[in-house]
């Protein structure tokens, strides 16, 4: 199935709940709200026509300093039917909470931890919700666009690079 067929199929099963993204990006992904995610995730994995048994990637996105949303992109792939799909969930920066799919695709465990580590998005229901790449006591979420680099860490001075990276 290609992208359009998958969207239609989901809409048939979910009562026309989701509409394809119509933003200016000519993007092929489905934008949903966090509350529907868990149910959809089970459907995507277990439905006989979709069988997205493989989670390729989870990417956290910060839409910019002005934008009030953070996004998470889930890239799915089916090893059975050889089709792909992308789901994107936007959450407000004030309350970044997304249900965890760590029990559905086991790899989501580490990917979600990484997104939390870098963007501070909390994944509800994650059994091991910790930082993964950064030290446990790191402050702030470095991949956010408004992240301010720390001067020191545990007394170690971070060398300042004067010139612009270009």
């Amino acid at each position: 199935m290609d992208y359009q067929e998958i969207v239609d199929y989901i809409n048939r099963n979910f009562n026309e709940l989701y509409s394809p993204d119509t933003g200016e990006e000519q993007a092929e992904f489905l934008r949903i709200s966090p509350k529907d995610w868990k149910e959809l995730a089970y459907f995507l994995r277990d439905d006989g026509n979709l069988v997205f048994d493989s989670m390729m990637c989870i990417t956290g996105i910060d839409y910019g300093v002005e934008d009030e949303n953070l996004g998470v992109a889930y890239n799915l792939h089916s090893m059975t039917h050889h089709h792909k799909f992308e789901v994107r969930i936007d959450v407000p920066k004030s309350k970044p909470m997304i249900p965890s799919v760590e029990k559905i695709w086991r790899i989501a465990d580490w990917f979600e931890r990484e997104v939390y580590d870098m963007y501070g998005i909390t994944f509800e229901g994650h059994r091991d919700h910790r930082r993964i790449l950064l030290p446990e006591d790191w402050e702030g979420f470095p991949l956010r666009k408004d992240y301010i680099f720390p001067e020191t860490w545990h007394g170690i001075v971070v060398p300042k690079i004067k010139e612009e990276w270009e």
């Binding site: 000519q26 390729m56 990417t59 996105i61 890239n75 992308e86 086991r106 993964i132 470095p142 990276w165």
Partner: protein, 382 residues
């Protein structure tokens, strides 16, 4: 998806549980990985990997440099297979920008990528042998890997971090006589595979140590996003070069070796190891075909502006590196710097399943299982 929980037979007398750190300074963690294991005697009951010792903020860096300048950073992610990483990034960028590169560039990329795959697998095989205590195969592998590095040095001046495959082409054409040298290497290398088999693969002790150990069933592997030789070792015939051909891989005739459980259960360490050995042969096959067909004439650069400005949009593209699916999620906002660049690392996903498959085994087995997963910490920590 069947994720079974481990049950322990606690009828045997229990000692105190000991918390043991394997790494970051340990001979066989393949970098600076720390595994905190809970052991009961020699048996490991729980493994908690701690990563990030090599974290270099790759993704944050990428947001601050232009698209061309990302390539050296990509090199430094998987420093064992830099060519393949460059290749993956170039493929992703070309998909994002919708450009087509010339025939010759495709051939050059395939040849260097396959050579680097051989080099990377040689390292994996050698260090795996080292992990189970065989020292000699390691040096044999390095001897042959050295020849590939010499070829790359001739090609682009660097031995480890090549910065060779660029967006829209490669940095420069093959030097004179390079094709003949590669032929020469392949003729030299092909009989050597038998040497590894004699020395290590079919050694009785080696089989005892690795077959049946650390079994990774196919469904668990897919659920954990394990890819590449590790997934194929579990008996899943899945290779992006064949299933989702990128570049010109559909022009070549090659097989996808999978784990068959010849020496034990499908998906054991031995299967993962043997898939790599078999892939050496396949890579030699592909390289030979590419060398036979490569067009002599042609430009190796696409007509690109000095500063690449991809159109607004996003792409998720993945390619097959020696370690598995290397994915790039790139979002462009039309400026010369990436808005967001995420690298989906195959070794990251492979390592995440270590607690699942390695508990219940002994310390020696945990080391062997870790070796068989062939992780590169530079790529895990990015």
């Amino acid at each position: 998806m069947g994720i079974e929980t481990l049950t322990l037979d606690r009828s045997a007398i229990q000692g105190e549980e000991m918390v043991l750190n394997i790494g970051p300074q340990h001979p066989s963690t393949h970098g600076v990985l720390r595994l905190q294991v809970v052991t009961d005697g020699e048996i490991v009951t729980k493994i908690t990997p701690y990563i990030g010792y090599l974290h270099r903020c790759f993704e944050k860096h990428c947001e601050n440099v232009t698209y061309e300048q990302v390539i050296p950073f990509v090199d430094r992610c998987d420093y064992i297979a830099s060519m393949n990483n460059n290749f993956g990034y170039a493929v992703a960028m070309e998909e994002l920008m919708g450009i087509e590169v010339s025939e010759k560039v495709h051939y050059i990329r395939v040849i260097v990528a396959e050579l680097n795959r051989i080099a990377s697998h040689l390292l994996a095989i050698g260090t795996f042998g080292l992990d189970v205590g065989a020292f000699t195969p390691f040096l044999y592998c390095f001897r042959d890997r050295e020849r590939i590095l010499d070829l790359f040095e001739l090609l682009c001046g660097a031995r480890l971090l090549y910065n060779y495959i660029w967006v829209g082409g490669v940095s420069h054409d093959f030097p004179i006589g390079f094709v003949e040298k590669v032929y020469e290497f392949l003729d030299y290398f092909e009989p050597k595979i038998q040497e590894y088999n004699d020395l290590l693969t079919f050694n009785k002790i080696f089989i005892e140590r690795t077959a049946d150990v650390g079994v990774l069933p196919a469904d668990v592997a897919i659920s954990y996003g394990v890819s590449g030789p590790n997934l194929r070792g579990s008996g899943v015939k899945w290779d992006l070069r064949k299933n989702e051909p990128y570049s010109i891989y559909n022009k070549f005739d090659f097989d996808i070796p999978i784990g068959t459980g010849a020496m034990g259960t499908v998906g054991g360490c031995w299967d993962r190891y043997y898939v790599r050995i078999r892939e050496l042969e396949e890579s030699v096959k592909i390289t030979r075909q590419a060398l036979d067909q490569i067009p002599r004439e042609g430009d190796v650069h696409a007509a690109l502006p000095k500063k690449i400005r991809p159109p607004k949009g996003h792409v998720y593209s993945r390619t097959e590196t020696p370690r598995g699916d290397l994915g790039f999620y790139i979002i462009s906002d039309g400026k010369p710097k990436p808005f967001r660049l995420k690298l989906r690392s195959p070794a990251f996903t492979a390592l995440s399943c270590i607690n699942e498959i390695a508990r219940g085994w002994m310390i020696a087995d945990v080391i062997a299982i870790l070796g068989s997963l062939d992780i590169v910490l530079g790529e895990i920590d990015r």
